[in-house]
């Protein structure tokens, strides 16, 4: 692991206030690895061996039951994932796979638990990070429980539009992955896009043009407490 990569991780809020000695001790036994696309990193029922940090690429957290599968969330660099699981010494609860070739730092979960007991600042940052992740899942839960598929898509597009800034937005993932994230089938995602055409949504492959934000918002009814900037 190069020093430049170490600095990238160190800059994350979660680690930025740690004592140097504790940070170094935590990294003992960790390794930075590159995975190709479409590789399953771990399964939801596996015991949590590592805290993962996505340094580069894209990772999907998903879950399975009843022969069905659904995306829980998408991870973008640089960010940690499965922190909660690493802290409690149980199963991962979610499965993970790479969507693209990805570089991932894996820190033994045991080290994380030791660091939490040893380093005050890390414990405090872990509290804030967990609270933030908690509210993230709460938002996802509200989203799927209180909105129809078309509404979820409309709100997703509005959020992406604000995030990306320009007047046309580009979907950051394949449509089938977007469908799974929205909790619908790929077929219904296609139909949802058709439904949104009268609201000024122009689709050209992964490029989306929102030509009537007002109308789209009147359908989507965005909520500050669900749709993150």
């Amino acid at each position: 692991m190069r020093d430049s990569e170490k600095q990238i991780v160190r800059a994350l809020p979660l680690f930025s206030g740690m004592l140097e000695a504790n940070f170094e001790a935590m990294l003992a036994g960790s390794f930075l690895q590159r995975f190709p696309a479409t590789v399953v990193l771990f399964s939801e029922s596996d015991l949590t061996d590592f805290l993962h940090i996505l340094v580069d690429g894209q990772v999907e957290l998903f879950a399975s039951a009843n022969n069905r599968e659904g995306t829980m969330t998408l991870i973008k660099p640089v960010a940690t994932f499965v922190l909660a699981s690493a802290l409690v010494d149980g199963a991962y609860q979610m499965s993970a796979r790479t969507l693209t070739s990805s570089q991932i730092l894996m820190i033994p979960a045991e080290n994380i638990r030791v660091a939490m007991l040893a380093d005050r600042d890390f414990a405090h940052k872990a509290v804030l990070e967990l609270a933030s992740c908690y509210h993230g899942v709460v938002r996802a839960y509200k989203n799927i429980k209180l909105r129809t598929g078309v509404e979820r898509l409309a709100n997703y597009l509005l959020v992406q539009h604000r995030r990306q800034g320009g007047d046309t937005l580009t979907l950051p993932v394949e449509k089938r992955t977007l469908a799974s994230m929205l909790g619908i089938t790929p077929e219904n995602l296609s139909r949802a896009f058709s439904t949104l055409k009268p609201y000024g949504v122009k689709v050209d492959g992964p490029k989306i043009d929102l030509q009537n934000i007002k109308d789209l918002e009147s359908l989507a009814k965005p909520s500050e407490l669900i749709d993150t900037l």
Copy 2:
């Protein structure tokens, strides 16, 4: 606040390891109050003033959007709720109402944040509590995303059956609340019970009899990672 009530709170894992002085300081400005049934304690967009601890009664956390409403979770005594919100100084993210007459201890959120910085053990326990709450919402999210309404009901009944031990179980909440928790309408809950009749589910008001666990399980396909004991 009586000493006996203080001891009940002190016994919660979250507080049990705190230094006495920190525990007392945290309680400054808190108050124990009794609310009648059906009272809204706070709304999801309100700023978080208090950590709440349900000492007696029953509380529902719910959310609203689009003129729709859904139960997020039910709180049973003795337990804290909205810990994550109290720790980050933002909106509650969920609304709360009493389902029955309830006794609730309210601790100023500011005190909680101070306690986290001052008391190591409390910070560590907060990490564990938050991780556990996080996995709780993850399970709820998987449940609604990967199962149909009938499957969710079947699994709910199996969990209640194991929890309550006897051969007949009693629903702990009104059926309309159960419906909202399962993410379906009261009408469809009635129909879901009818659908489960061939699987040995006998309904008599709030009393449910499971006469064929095997068949019910084959339909429910329970999962350790979703259905908590």
